[in-house]
Symmetry: C2
Subunit: 222 residues, 2 copies
Amino acid sequence: MTDDTTASTDPEPDDGGPAPILFYFEFSSPYSYFAAHKIDDMARLYDRAVEWRPILLGPLFQSSGNKPLTEQPLKGVYSKHDMARCARFFGLTFDFPDPFPFPAVAAARAVWWLKDQKGEAWGDEEGAHKLALALFDAAYADGRDIRSAEAVVELASGLGVDAHALSTALGEQAVKDRLRVEIERAVEAGVCGAPFFVVDGEPFWGADRLDHVERWLATGGW
Amino acid sequence: MTDDTTASTDPEPDDGGPAPILFYFEFSSPYSYFAAHKIDDMARLYDRAVEWRPILLGPLFQSSGNKPLTEQPLKGVYSKHDMARCARFFGLTFDFPDPFPFPAVAAARAVWWLKDQKGEAWGDEEGAHKLALALFDAAYADGRDIRSAEAVVELASGLGVDAHALSTALGEQAVKDRLRVEIERAVEAGVCGAPFFVVDGEPFWGADRLDHVERWLATGGW
């Protein structure tokens, strides 16, 4: 466990300003894709940073006994309809990925790895946001398959990330452990789905809570 | 099966105006309580009627394999926190019922029965709305137990409903069948949870879709 890891769990901004918004998301989650396109702009309105934290819903589902919404009777049909309608509501391009759900472990590990490359080109939070958004757009707007490590590396490379360094990192135990530990921490912190936001300790689950997140940012709570 | 039952499934307003909003709800559902306090006012803004349709989530959970949100690991803790915060967001009094979830079969049957008493005092939709709201407020604002037929009859009686007629009705097979058939129809119509709204054939699930319902009413869809 590095100091960086500890710092990112209980973020304390260097400038003494308000704490960043914690944004937990899963690549295999259309509602996370929508939120990923909204949260940075919203945060900026209230002078907040956003800390992006990819997780995997699989381990959460094991804890909660749930399975993906789209695979549930009744809710499956509705949720696919709702996802397409939400995309139009948010003004976002949306093609439902096939297959879905899909394993996004390489994508999630790549984002955590990039977050930890502080001081390198494309490293740190900003690069991680850009890579995460690019991965989301590839999967939901461009019909691309982002499941494999090769696909993730190719896409990251196009953004200027060192392909060799990332490719090597994705095979390292420390990088695998980083994601695993962050998912365990998310569960311990009460994260019960994705997207999930924490504003000054207050938890919000779902893209349909973005209006509550915004009011919380504007008012400090109610 | 009566003609009334058929008519209420595919509502055709007498005046040739726009179809009523279908509002499916479960008394043992805090999010349904919130929606019950919002949907009529919203509909009025757009000259719509609302047809209130109580259902029971138990049979839906049997179809979908779900269980109540509050009983799920991880989601249970979050959802209770979210319900209290949503109540404040909506400006509604809210005391979490104990026990919860609770069987609301008598309450649901009473509302369907009252909807069918066309031409009687307190009968038809308007009386059914008032009884349903009174039942919700009793359970969520006044800490009252609305599980038993006796409790439902006492509350309805206070609103002017004929206590003897309702009490007798709650024991009749036809009244029991009415609710059972309506739940089956709801499942066939794709209702996957509560609250659930249908506007001109467009389905919306959850109190957190009220903003989408309102935009749909205002724009005719997107």
